[in-house]
């Protein structure tokens, strides 16, 4: 072979290995320019100033680390990332850096989907097709330009799948630790992932990665690798319990449950319960986004100052509303909890109606259909375009995307079939089965938890599950393509006859 031939062979080999990544990277880059220059989509940092999940700007500037330590309804990482950048680099530059981080997260998700699907045996064309569609979707671009926890969590989820594949390739303690640490990091951004960590650990325990020293040792390593991130999550929970005196997220939980059931009732029935004194007026109000002055005097709970501005001040000294005063936790504990339990026991139909509607309707809306009362310039800019692109999902007049009503359950059932069925027995499917199990656990637990607890925005929560559904669908598409190819081949006449 001549030098020229050798070089061209090497170039071809390198190209055939890398073209999926290059094509998806190009689609990612071109689509970002398209959305930036055609729709003027810009990084929306307003959530950091307006959303209840964030420590207010005054606290970030003057009392950041103490506020972070005493933050009681959220795991700390989203605030650490946002506040940390702003604190370190100042307001305009910090947000520019965050924008770069978010674009990096978007690229990680798109390229991660390619890598995961290829590692699961999906042909390159299918892997690239699915990842590119995901990368150029206006929904993906919207979330990438929204300073909220969804995009970092999406990146961590895809990275955790890559880490899981690595764990099943190497079978070492370190690889297992990396995987569980990534899931735990997701949970430190988004609390719903905390149970996922335990559930995934239990599921993988059934069929751990191969180890030269036997299955027992593999399981022991898995448990140890799980225990460390689990302990880290436990410490974070203990922090809130010890410093604030209440469980992390408990006030959100009770408020959500009370409002969810209350909203599911007829207005007249609600009024009767409030006027009859069976429940308080609290469920009429959204605790964390409302000033305490909107609460009746009998709903207010005085407490001794704690000395921590985040817990003591209703308004920050700059006049902005603080979402995290301790009094709100006390109100949740005294009123929302009682009301939620009363409503759950005495109006179970209203609760189950909310769950039913969440699961059969809101869940299947576009992820851009979250709370319309929240203003979002990017959503406004993209709305006309999204309306056109959404046509492929055949939405009904309520916004339920009929194609997703079929595809999402189908992806889930296909995953189950692949894990439990004949192929799940094969040794060559060990890694694939582990990844599918992980995805099924995440999809089912996050879906059930959100529809059971939250009172809205189910399509927004689904955004973080869509990459997993997409990966499952790419596996299904691979099987369908292979089946079609085999069927065609078997029908083709042969010379042998």
């Amino acid at each position: 072979m001549s030098t020229r031939e050798a070089v061209s062979t090497r170039v071809f080999a390198a190209w055939s290995r890398r073209w999926p990544y290059l094509v998806v990277s190009a689609a990612f880059a071109v689509s970002r320019l398209f959305y930036r220059f055609v729709f003027d989509v810009r990084f929306d940092t307003r959530p950091a100033e307006e959303f209840i999940q964030y420590i207010g700007p005054w606290f970030v500037e003057h009392d950041f680390f103490r506020s972070l330590l005493y933050l009681h309804q959220q795991p700390p990482l989203q605030n650490l990332l946002t506040g940390g950048c702003v604190k370190l680099f100042g307001a305009p530059l910090g947000f520019e850096i965050l924008h770069a981080v978010y674009v990096g997260c978007g690229a990680t998700v798109a390229l991660g989907i390619v890598q995961v699907t290829l590692r699961l045996g999906v042909p390159r064309a299918i892997a690239v097709g699915f990842a590119a569609l995901y990368a150029v979707s206006p929904v993906t671009v919207f979330y990438e330009n929204w300073l909220f926890y969804h995009e970092p969590v999406a990146a961590l989820q895809v990275l955790s799948l890559l880490a899981l594949l690595r764990y099943y390739r190497l079978g070492t303690f370190g690889a297992g630790l990396l995987f569980f640490a990534l899931v735990a990091t997701s949970a430190l951004f988004y609390s719903l992932f905390a149970p996922v960590l335990v559930l995934v650990g239990l599921a993988l325990f059934v069929r751990p990665p191969l180890a030269a020293d036997g299955r027992q040792a593999a399981r022991a390593r898995l448990v140890l690798a799980l225990a460390i991130p689990l302990a880290a999550l436990g410490l974070d929970r203990a922090r809130t319990r010890i410093l604030v005196g209440h469980d992390q997220g408990a006030a959100y939980f009770w408020m959500n449950l009370a409002v969810k059931t209350f909203d599911g009732m007829r207005p007249g029935r609600r009024a009767l319960l409030v006027e009859g004194g069976q429940i308080s007026r609290a469920p009429e109000l959204m605790l964390f986004s409302r000033p305490l002055s909107e609460y009746d005097k009998n709903l207010r709970i005085a407490h001794m100052p704690t000395g921590v501005p985040l817990l003591d001040l209703e308004y920050a000294p700059d006049g902005s509303l603080n979402a995290h005063p301790l009094e709100k936790v006390l109100i949740a504990e005294s009123f929302y909890k009682k009301d939620a339990l009363y409503l759950f026991l005495h109006a179970p139909d209203a609760y189950w109606r909310s769950v039913f509607e969440a699961l059969t309707q809101s869940y299947f809306h576009s992820p851009l259909d979250y709370d319309k009362s929240i203003s979002s310039p990017n959503r406004d800019k993209l709305s006309a375009f999204v309306e056109k692109t959404n046509v492929v999902f055949l939405p009904d007049k309520e916004g339920v995307q009929r194609v997703l009503v079929v595809l999402l359950p189908l992806a889930f059932l296909y995953g189950l079939h692949r894990v439990l069925g004949a192929r799940g027995v094969l040794e060559s499917e060990r890694s694939t089965a582990a990844v599918i199990v992980c995805m099924l656990v995440v999809v089912s637990s996050v879906t059930l938890a959100t529809v059971a607890i939250s009172f809205g925005d189910f399509c927004r929560y689904r955004y973080n599950l869509d990459p997993y559904s997409l990966i499952l669908l790419s596996l299904l598409a691979t099987d369908v393509a292979e089946g079609a190819r085999r069927a065609l081949r078997s029908r083709r006449p042969t010379l042998a006859r």
Binding site: G121, L170, L416, V425, E427, S428, R430, S431
Partner: protein, 276 residues
Amino acid sequence: MLAPDGESPRGNGERALKLAGRALDPNAPGGPARALGQRWLREAFVAGARVLCRDATVDSVETAARALAGAPVPGRTRRRRAEAASTLGQSSLPDRAALTVAELEVTRVLDEANGTRRIEHAGKRAFWTIAALVASAAAALILADRALYPPWENYRWSASSAWGEYATSGRLADHDGSFDLVFHTKEEVDPWVVVDLRSTRTVSEVTVVNRADCCRDRGLPLVMELAGEDERFVEVGVRTVPFDTWHPTFPPRKVRYVRLRAKGKTVLHLRDIQIR
């Protein structure tokens, strides 16, 4: 030889199958090794055929295929085995999908040789799990839909008059006004409400739920009347004393309209009318 001295062909087959699986795993270090996987699958196939056919002379994919072809098995199994033998016997490298099919078939052969039923059990397990999940999800959705959204909620009503913010007609599901009421007439002589079931249905029970916060003595005596398409109302019950819920008893009958009529000058307002 593949296994340590003294190990049975069964053990050989299982070990070879495991090694084939590891080689064919798309997540294997360095990517799947199809050639290696094919070789291990051949070993497993031959070992399985040797045990299954009790023929120690089987020593290649071709002889294994010939030996297995003579076994009394259903045609489908024979075709699958022939396809696997063809994949394993071919000199060119088969694609991954063909190797997966071959791996499945070799596992079946070894299952049969070893008296185990991994593939068959897994297939059944998957089928029944998915069937149970789909059936229970469908049943839960249907039951929830029926329990949470009873059909009478879509029936339309019209009243003799409307007080304040209330309407003179609507659906039984709508409780948009205050006091959690479906309708609220003015004070008038013989106020009434008629519910249209939209088609003739067999009705065996009607439950009337009264206003909860006060005024339970209004709208009395209350007469319940039923009518078919001909709109000729027949009285089926009269309530003269205050009530929370009232369900008059009557034999099941074909009904299109349900009318509730108060006698005398009074106000009629009800919280629910449930028609079963």
